[in-house]
Symmetry: C2
Subunit: 278 residues, 2 copies
Amino acid sequence: MREGWFTEAIEDEGVAFSLAIDEKVHDEHSGYQHIEVYRTRRWGRLLVLDGCVMVTERDEFLYHEMMAHPALFAHRDPQRIAIIGGGDCGILREVLRHTEVAHALQVELDERVTRVAEAHFPDLCTANDDPRAELRFGDGVRWVRDTEPESLDVMIVDSTDPVGPAAGLFTKEFLADARRALAPGGIVVQQSESPLLHGESVIAPLHRAAAEAGFDGVHTLTFPVPSYPSGWWSATLMVNGGDPRNFREADSEAKPFATRYYNADIHRAALATPELLR
Amino acid sequence: MREGWFTEAIEDEGVAFSLAIDEKVHDEHSGYQHIEVYRTRRWGRLLVLDGCVMVTERDEFLYHEMMAHPALFAHRDPQRIAIIGGGDCGILREVLRHTEVAHALQVELDERVTRVAEAHFPDLCTANDDPRAELRFGDGVRWVRDTEPESLDVMIVDSTDPVGPAAGLFTKEFLADARRALAPGGIVVQQSESPLLHGESVIAPLHRAAAEAGFDGVHTLTFPVPSYPSGWWSATLMVNGGDPRNFREADSEAKPFATRYYNADIHRAALATPELLR
């Protein structure tokens, strides 16, 4: 790391991303991971888990909006939502902008991530006190396995990279459990890494695992996230029956809340499949 | 710069992008600029001008395809093409995939960039010997000012950042000259930097300059370019009359050449305007 900069190097891809920092404002080992918070010079606060950029205040809207709104507008009537991971609470904030949502449960492994977000990223945590929000801390894989069948409308899987604790979220066993938890018409959306770097190593295997888990509609969205490796990211929608590319276009056009990236045109745009992913 | 890495730091945005390098294979001061070529560990060859990443072999397809195909498919019958800048020849290669093109003139200020590309980036220069290609070296601003009115179907402005020699390519005077050079139905496309970093500083002023130059249809496309600052990039289409969002969709769907990013769905997707650019 150069003096005055935070650097995340992806050694096996030979690429690194750095942000100029003014100060480290938090540093702890939570038992699950190393949690750091920096005040950057131009990107607001920066949350780092085990050396990987999780959130910057400057670009967090891109990831959080695109993990929430396409899935929720693709569902006919999204009332019961579960977020697996998502401890920084940014997706929860976006989910609760939808007035149809009756209950949004977040199941994060590491309570310290949420407490650190509450202390240092207040803009991510604006919905934490919403009466529809429930914050639970524990193993998301186990929660999904044990939860009541057909009890969810949308499940959002906001994992870290598919190594270490998050590896279990990319298996056909997990996805079969997720499918069982969905009510008819339900949708899973899962972050699926970079279209440039991880097409073969993550996106294609996730499509195969989803098919083996019984999902018959699987589609990958793409969108920019400047602070993630390559700056280009993806999320994969999975449904039982139907086409995950369909969404409530009129409702999206008339959405009653403000966004900074997402709109109905961007929803349609994110559905386009680049040649390299075909 | 860390040992073994090339780093481009955007100091005023507090962000840096680095690639692991095996070897520097070229280094010269051309009189216009400092030209460097590196062999990277995972991104192929890297071309650097005055410290800024211009091309990596791993992701060059994104920029070059998106600077060529949307504009050419937006034109009814693109026969006469001029590329201003573009010395690495990657856009020229994409332009000449279109069989309608009768003549593609590239006007690059610095002949050394093209000679270095020919020596070190053979995949960018595969069309340089096409009989329809003409490579000219000189001042693109002056060439556009002096060229015959109504003599071009598509002008592609592939500049470096809008500072230094490229600043003149972002003025209403240049754009008025560009407009005069276009035949009826003609199109200009110009690279317009990062939607995240340069919305206010480049994209909005370019729209104003285009309007002042007399263009009545102006639209910005967005697409990923991992090796450019923020990993998220844009190009702006300008037309006299008509809507730059219209394109020959059936021809694009049936394009007879291979691409790695562009297709008709991606063309439509790139036209979507994110909320932050509205």
